[in-house]
C-alpha cells in the first residue's frame, strides 16, 4: 500500500497528469462534475459527481463513422479512435461496479469496439466513500464501499490518502508516480474502513427485499397492478437514465453536415416516448410501459441474462435527481415483497 499526505495531493495529480489525461471530480456551482485536471484544479470532496463516470467509456455522443455520398456512390470513412490514455480519479465503489455491468453489455460478443477502445485507454482510481449519503444503497447489491475496486483503490482519512493497486494497470500507474508516493502499511486504511462501515450500518436504505426479482417471476412482475400508480407522476424525462451509471441504451443517428454524413450514437432513454416508435407503431405507447421497461430491465431482464446481477449499483443519483422523486428504491419496495 502507498500513501500520500492530502496537503500534497496536488503533486500526485500533477504526476498523474504528466503522462496522461487526468479526470477528477471538481466542485461546480451545482454539485460536482468530473473535469479534466489542470494546474490548480481542486479535487471535490463531494460523495458523487452529478454524472456518473460512465461518460468516460460511453460518452453522451460519439462519432461512429462518416460517409460521403455523391450521386449513387457512397464512401465510408472510419473516424480515428481516441487514443489518449487517461486516468479517472475519485470514482466511488458504485460507479466502479457499474463498469463491470457495462462490460457485460459492451464487451460480450460482438464486442463494441468503441467502448472497448476507451476501456483499454482508461485507468480507474477509486476512492472509498467516507461520507455516505442517505441516498446510498449500494450494499443492497453486494457492493462494499470500503473495497471500492477499480485499478487502484484509495482510502482517505483526515490527512492521508492510501492507495492500493488492484490490477496490473493499477500497479503500472502507481509505479509511474512512485516519486510522489510513500510506502504505507497494508493495514493503514483499516481504521478508515471501520469508520465507513459503521456509518454504512446506519444508512436508511438497507436490506431491500430483492427476492421477488427473478426470471421465474418475470411475467408476474410485468403484469403487476403497481406500475400504473408508480408511473403516474413520471414526466417521461431522461434524468434517471442519464445520471444512471448502468443505463446504456443508445440511439444511432445520421447528421448531414452539408459536406458529408456523420453517423453518431448518443444516449437514449427508454423513458422517452420516441424510444421504440417506428414506422409500424409503438409497442410502448404510454408512460406506464416505458417506466416499467426501465425498472424491469434493471431488476429482472438484465439479471436474467447476466447470472442474476442487478443492473443497479445503488449510487443514489436517481433518488437525488428525479424531478418527481420516483425512484428504483420506491419501485423495489412496492414490488419486492408483495409480488413474490
Amino acid at each position: 500500500m502507498k500513501q500520500i499526505k492530502l496537503d500534497s495531493i496536488q503533486s500526485l495529480f500533477k504526476a498523474l497528469s504528466a503522462t496522461r489525461t487526468l479526470y477528477l471530480p471538481v466542485d461546480t456551482p451545482a454539485g460536482a462534475d468530473f473535469k479534466k485536471y489542470e494546474d490548480g484544479v481542486l479535487w471535490s470532496g463531494a460523495l458523487n459527481p452529478n454524472r456518473s463516470a460512465k461518460d468516460f467509456f460511453f460518452p453522451q455522443t460519439e462519432n461512429m463513422v462518416d460517409f460521403k455520398v455523391e450521386g449513387k456512390t457512397i464512401e465510408i470513412i472510419e473516424p480515428t479512435r481516441p487514443d489518449e490514455d487517461f486516468v479517472v480519479f475519485g470514482v466511488r465503489a458504485c460507479d466502479a461496479r457499474s463498469f463491470e455491468l457495462l462490460d457485460k453489455v459492451f464487451l460480450c460478443d460482438p464486442v463494441d469496439t468503441y467502448y472497448q477502445n476507451r476501456r483499454e485507454h482508461g485507468v480507474i482510481v477509486t476512492v472509498c466513500c467516507n461520507k455516505p449519503a442517505e441516498t446510498c444503497f449500494c450494499t443492497n447489491f453486494g457492493i462494499d464501499p470500503t473495497a471500492p475496486g477499480g485499478d487502484v483503490a484509495c482510502w482517505q482519512d483526515d490527512d492521508t490518502l492510501y492507495l492500493q493497486a488492484n490490477t496490473k494497470a493499477g500497479e503500472a500507474l502507481l509505479n509511474s508516480v512512485a516519486d510522489v508516493l510513500a510506502e504505507a502499511d497494508d493495514s493503514a486504511a483499516d481504521s478508515v474502513k471501520e469508520t465507513v462501515k459503521a456509518i454504512m450500518a446506519k444508512l436508511p436504505i438497507q436490506n431491500l427485499d430483492l427476492s421477488a426479482f427473478t426470471e421465474d417471476n418475470l411475467l408476474n412482475l410485468f403484469g403487476s397492478e403497481q406500475w400504473k400508480k408508480l408511473s403516474e407522476a413520471c414526466l417521461g424525462c431522461g434524468t434517471c437514465t442519464f445520471v444512471c451509471p448502468t443505463c446504456q441504451c443508445y440511439d444511432i443517428k445520421d447528421f448531414d453536415t452539408g459536406h458529408g454524413i456523420k453517423r453518431f450514437r448518443c444516449w437514449d432513454s427508454c423513458m422517452y416516448s420516441e424510444f421504440t416508435r417506428c414506422a409500424h407503431g409503438n409497442p410502448r405507447l404510454s408512460q406506464v410501459e416505458r417506466f416499467r421497461q426501465r425498472f424491469m430491465h434493471k431488476l429482472v431482464y438484465f439479471p436474467a441474462n447476466n447470472n442474476g446481477d442487478f443492473s443497479c449499483v445503488g449510487c443514489g443519483r436517481c433518488l437525488a435527481k428525479c424531478p418527481i422523486s420516483m425512484n428504483i428504491v420506491k419501485v423495489i419496495k412496492a414490488l419486492g415483497g408483495a409480488n413474490k
Binding site: T61, P204, E232, C237, G238, V243, D251, Y272, K333
Partner: protein, 323 residues
C-alpha cells in the same frame, strides 16, 4: 396545513364534488414526496403529504387529468395558479373539470440548499418555527428556513392566488420582487463574460428533457425536438450548438407564456439556471412592450401574439447594451 387539506379533500370526495385528488404521496425520506392522485379517503389518510418540500407545480398534470371523467381536486400554490390560468387560456386544461384549492405559500425549501450547507446524509427534517431541525447521519443540525428557500421562492413574484375555487390558508399579494437581478447582472457583463457564463452552464446539459417535460408551458402534443420531420429533432445535444439551440428555442417557444414558475431550474439535474433564459424574455417583454405577467388572466393577448405600431426596432439590442 396538511391536516386541513386532507380534511377538506375528504369532504369534497364524500360530497361528490370531485372524484379524485391530485396531491403528493409521502416518500421515503423527508423531502421526496411524489405527485400522486388519490381516489379515496383511506388513500389520503395513508399517504397524502404537504410540507415545505412538496414543491412540484401540479398544474401540468391537469392537462392529462382534466381529460378524464369527473372533477379533480388539486392543491395549487400561488405560483402554480398562474400556470393553470395560462393553460386554461391556451385551452390545454378544461378548467371546468378542476376544483382548485389555493394554498397560501411562504416559500418552499430546496434540499440541495440543505446539502450545500453541509448537511449530508439527511435522515429526517422537522420544521420548527422558522427553522428546520435536520437529522443526519452525522448528527443533528438546525438551519433557518429562510436560508434554504428555493431560488424561485427567494425572489417570489407573487403570493397571490390567481384562480381558485376556495382558499386554504392566507392569500397573499403580488410582490415587487427582485427576480431580475441576476438577469441584470448578466446584462451588465461584457459579451465575452456572458458567453463564458453560458458556455459553462449549458455545456453541462445532458438533454434529459426534464426542464421541458416538467414545464407547464411545454405541453405540446409533439415537441419539435421529438419530431423527426421538424428538421431540428435531436435526442442528445451533440455539441455546444445543439445545447444552445434547444434552450434558446425552448425559451422562445414559451416566451410570453412562461409564468416564471421556476420548475425548469428546480428539476435540472445539472443545476443549470435555465430560469434565467425565461426571465430574460420576461424582462425584455416588460421593458419593451409593457409589463406583462403570463397567467394573470385567461383572456389577454400574449406579447408575442400582439404588437403595437410603434414597437421598438431590434436595434434596441445595440442601443441599450453595454460595450
Amino acid at each position: 396545513m396538511q391536516e386541513a387539506m386532507i380534511k377538506r379533500a375528504k369532504e369534497l370526495l364524500t360530497d361528490g364534488t370531485v372524484n379524485r385528488v391530485l396531491g403528493w404521496q409521502k416518500g421515503g425520506v423527508a423531502y421526496d414526496a411524489t405527485p400522486a392522485v388519490f381516489d379515496s379517503a383511506e388513500a389520503l389518510e395513508q399517504g397524502f403529504v404537504y410540507d415545505d418540500f412538496t414543491a412540484a407545480n401540479l398544474s401540468k398534470y391537469l392537462v392529462k387529468e382534466t381529460k378524464n371523467e369527473g372533477k379533480v381536486l388539486v392543491f395549487l400554490k400561488p405560483c402554480d395558479t398562474y400556470s393553470l390560468n395560462q393553460l386554461t387560456k391556451e385551452h390545454r386544461v378544461n378548467r371546468d373539470n378542476v376544483y382548485v384549492i389555493g394554498v397560501g405559500c411562504d416559500g418552499k425549501a430546496d434540499v440541495e440548499k440543505l446539502r450545500a450547507q453541509g448537511m449530508d446524509g439527511i435522515l429526517g427534517i422537522t420544521a420548527e418555527g422558522d427553522n428546520f431541525v435536520v437529522e443526519t447521519l452525522y448528527g443533528n443540525k438546525t438551519v433557518a428556513k429562510a436560508d434554504v428557500l428555493a431560488e424561485r421562492c427567494v425572489v417570489c413574484k407573487s403570493r397571490k392566488l390567481m384562480t381558485y375555487d376556495e382558499i386554504l390558508g392566507e392569500d397573499g399579494e403580488v410582490i415587487d420582487s427582485n427576480r431580475f437581478d441576476m438577469v441584470e447582472q448578466l446584462e451588465n457583463m461584457t459579451s465575452d463574460q456572458r458567453y463564458a457564463f453560458w458556455q459553462n452552464e449549458l455545456s453541462r446539459c445532458i438533454r434529459c428533457n426534464a426542464c421541458r417535460n416538467v414545464c407547464p408551458a411545454c405541453t405540446c402534443e409533439k415537441c419539435v425536438f421529438d419530431n423527426v420531420n421538424s428538421g431540428v429533432a435531436n435526442t442528445a445535444a451533440a455539441d455546444s450548438f445543439e445545447e444552445k439551440l434547444f434552450h434558446v428555442i425552448r425559451a422562445f417557444h414559451v416566451a410570453g407564456r412562461c409564468t416564471d414558475c421556476g420548475e425548469c431550474s428546480r428539476v435540472c439535474p445539472q443545476g443549470i439556471p435555465l430560469h434565467l433564459l425565461n426571465r430574460k424574455f420576461i424582462k425584455d417583454i416588460n421593458e419593451l412592450y409593457g409589463e406583462y405577467q403570463a397567467g394573470e388572466d385567461t383572456d389577454s393577448r400574449g406579447p408575442l401574439t400582439n404588437f403595437t405600431y410603434d414597437d421598438c426596432e431590434p436595434s434596441i439590442v445595440h442601443e441599450r447594451g453595454v460595450e
